[in-house]
Structures are given as C-alpha cells and as structure tokens.
Amino acid sequence: MNSMKSLIHFDNCNLHYCSSAYQETSLRAYIFRLGGWKCSHPVRDIHALKDINVRIDTGEKVGLIGHNGAGKSTLLKAIAGLYPISSGNREVRGTIRSLLELSLGFEPDATGFENIMYRGLLLGQTPKQIRQLREEIIDFSELGEFINYPIRTYSAGMLVRLAFSISTSIRGDILLLDEIMSAGDIAFQQKARNRINALIDRAEILVFASHDLETMRGLCTRGLVLNHGTIIYDGNVEDALACYQDSLL
C-alpha cells in the first residue's frame, strides 16, 4: 500500500533559468552585438536551485525559510512541476494543490460564475464536480450578485476572494502555499485562515513558504532553510528558525 502514499523526493536536483529567455532579442540589440558593443550586464543562466536533496513523506508539514530570492518560490514551483529541473531526479506522488499566484488565470470578459467553471477545470476538476461546489464557492467569496458580472469589473480584493474561494474548495494530497495571502478585509482574512487550516488538516503533505515565522512555527513541524538556492539546514522547525535568525545577525 506504500505506493498510495504521497511523497516528494528530490534527488540531486538542479534548476537553471535559461538566459536566452531574458536576453534582448530585438534587432537593435542584435546590431549592437554585431557592432562589437559589449553589453555591460551580460545575462547568464541563473542557477536557481543547487543540488537539492530532500524527501518529504506523508504527514509532514514543511516550512521553507529564507531571504528574498533564496529559492523558496522556485522550489515550490519545481515541486508543482511548473519549472523543469535541469538535472537530477524529481519524484512527486499525490495530487498537488498549489496556492501560489492566486489572482491570476481568469478570463476577464467572462462572469464570476463562468470563471468558477474555467478555474475549476484548470485545476483538473470535472464540470459535474464544480457544479456541486459552486454554491459553496459563491457563498464563501461573499460576492453576492456580483458573481454575474464580468470579472474585469471586479476590484482587486474581490478577485482575490473569488480566486481564494475556488482554489481552496478543491482538496489535494499535497498542499503548496506561498505566504498566506492577505485576501480581503479583516473579517475575510479570519475566515480565510480557518479555511486554510482545514485544508492543511486534510492534506497529506504541506509545503509552506513564508516570512511570517510565527505562523510557520504554528503550522510546520519541519523546516528547510534556503540560501542562494541551496538547502543550508533541514530539520526541526524550531532549529530551522533559529538557524535562519542567526543568519540574519
């Protein structure tokens, strides 16, 4: 039965952002290069994750700690399979639910009601499943009659509330969180927190990236400290937080 359990296993994984994607490709840039003018800031491949070795088993709640640009979000996206690793072995078992960039991925001309369908389908649900969840999603988002208006008329807060309600109404074995977002007003935030906690309880694995060390202490049992794309500490969450705070001094 072991094969049924969720698992994240990175074995010697490296990840590079390929530089050609960020280089200027305009005719102007090309002529400059031909003319021998050296670019003062040449763009190189960015080595975003270096020799990552980590295994996360069912039941673990793991926090990712590190400075901005340390590789936390990149690691989450690599776990989600969005970023391809350039070498090593990546094994992920279980359905992934990621709450990474929430308010993205809507069809602006479609109504909130229709967008619940699109987004639910994007997240791998069937129309039938979404119809069952729909009432509850509309309720939770507190959008009321606005649900029948096109998304482009929504305020930023309304968008986040809708996105949050949809993404959190679908459960997954592996939950990937990038900061617990400040969705809506204070009342909604409290509701959002409760909902995330419920989602975490049901998930088999949680990987949580945040700068909010208190929340991390409350949610996670294990901590990974990242620095410049390498894991510099892996262990008990308290020790990981201490390690991170030491590095700040």
């Binding site: 391809p84 993205l104 991925g105 699109y118 994007l122």
Partner: protein, 259 residues
C-alpha cells in the same frame, strides 16, 4: 502515451476555453455566430463580381468555388494566427497548473473549427440551392475529411505556438506568410489559372490545394475525392505530426521560461 492521456483528462478545460473564445468573439454582437456565414458570403459576392468581370467567367460558376475556398482558408488562417499566440495568451494558466501544453494550440484550432462548421452549413445550403444534383454517396467522405482537415492543421498550429512563444516577431511574420500562401493557393483563383500560367507545379505540391479538393470534389462536382489528393494529405499530416512531436518533446519544458 502518457501525454495523450493527460490531454484527454484535461478535455473539459480546453473544450471550455475554446467555447469561451467563441463566446467572447461574438459577445454583444447582433449577428453573433451568423458572422461565420455572413463574412465569407459577402466576400464571395464581392470577389465573384470582380473576378467575373476580369476573367469573363459567369458569376454563377465561381460563387460556390470561392465560398468553399474562403471557408476553409479562413479556418486555416484563424487557427494559425490565434495559435501562434496560444502560449502567450495562456501564460497565466501555464504558470498555475501543469497541463500538457499541446492543449493550448488545440484550443485555438477547436474554436476556429467550430466557426468553420457553421460557415460550412451555409455552404451546404448553398449547394442544395444551386446544385442539388451534387448530393450523393460521395458526401459520405465529408465527415472523415473534416477530421483530416482538423488533424492536418493542428500540428501546424502546435509548431507555430512553440515558435511564437520563443520569437515574438513570429505573430507579425505569420500574417505575411499567410498572405503569401493565399496567393499561391486556389482559394478564389481556379487551379486552371495556375496551370495556364505555367506554375501548375505550385498546385501539385501545395497541400492546401489538395485539402480543398477533398471538399470540393463531392460538394462542387458530386464526385468522390481523388486518391492522389487523399494520399498527399495523409502523408503531409503524418510528416507534420512527426515534426510537431519532436518540437513538443524538445521544447515543452522550456516554454515557461519564455513567458
């Protein structure tokens, strides 16, 4: 194989997106999907009037020819133009959830295909009015021909989508390419025009000519499509798929970096 299963599993997603594309294309328009029919029809009238006077052909003969050409051509152009931006337009989805990327060009082709089916309805009504005697057994070939058309255009659009995400100039260039291609395809010029002008070889090697023949033989002449046309298209589709698979295998994982 795993890849194809994943495309199938995400079928609700891409089919809904295609329908959303259609809906937003005709949103708040008075004629709505009627435009699929009105656009080529108006163009056909215009063209047959002008060409009738230039080439001194009876307008009646050319109407069906031009309409059928335009409908298929519009499908190809619309698929390729929207498809070359397929990944760019879907970047918010691609960054959120890992679906096989092939579903995004598939979405473009599907939306254009539904458009074309409506326009084709117009063509069939047209044929019944002008040439009812053309209706016969040969029309049974139409259904697989539609499928073949879809399967020939899809790999082209898939390749275009991968090029389009890597080289952003491509969507501009593709407009030019399509115009050039239209000039050397029998969209509204009869193939004979090309043969008379001693450039008939362009017809022989142009898949669009053969594709259109597969439709025009039964609809416009009441005959079965020729085996040569069919063989040519099958071979073309097969080679295009080989190429598209190679592109997918080598480029799929890099796309996210180019968005």
């Amino acid at each position: 194989m795993d890849y194809i299963i994943k495309i199938w599993l995400s079928r609700y997603f891409w089919s809904h997106l295609a329908l959303a594309d259609l809906r937003s294309r005709y949103k708040r328009s008075f004629l709505g999907l009627g435009w699929c029919f009105v656009k080529p029809f108006g163009m056909t009238l215009l063209l047959s009037f002008v060409m009738g006077h230039i080439f001194h052909t009876p307008i009646d003969d050319s109407v069906l020819f031009i309409y059928s050409g335009l409908v298929i051509w519009e499908f190809i152009v619309l698929s390729v133009l929207t498809g070359s931006n397929a990944f760019v337009n879907a970047q918010l989805y691609i960054g959120q959830f890992k679906h096989p990327l092939a579903i995004y060009p598939l979405r473009s082709v599907l939306a254009a295909f539904i458009d074309m089916l409506f326009a084709f309805l117009g063509l069939i009504i047209f044929v019944f009015v002008r040439k009812p005697s053309n209706f016969g057994m040969a029309w049974m070939g139409l259904l697989p021909t539609f499928l073949l058309l879809f399967l020939t255009v899809l790999p082209v659009v898939t390749i275009a989508a991968f090029i389009g995400v890597r080289f952003r100039d491509f969507s501009q260039l593709v407009t030019l390419l399509m115009q050039a291609l239209q000039l050397i395809s029998p969209v509204f010029f009869q193939p004979e025009v090309f043969y008379k002008g001693n450039i008939g070889f362009i017809m022989d090697i142009n898949p669009i000519y053969h594709l259109m023949e597969l439709f025009r033989a039964p609809l416009l002449r009441g005959e079965w499509a020729s085996g040569t046309d069919l063989a040519f298209i099958l071979l073309t589709a097969f080679s295009l798929w080989l190429l598209a698979c190679l592109v997918i295998i080598h480029q799929e994982r890099r796309v996210i970096f180019y968005l």
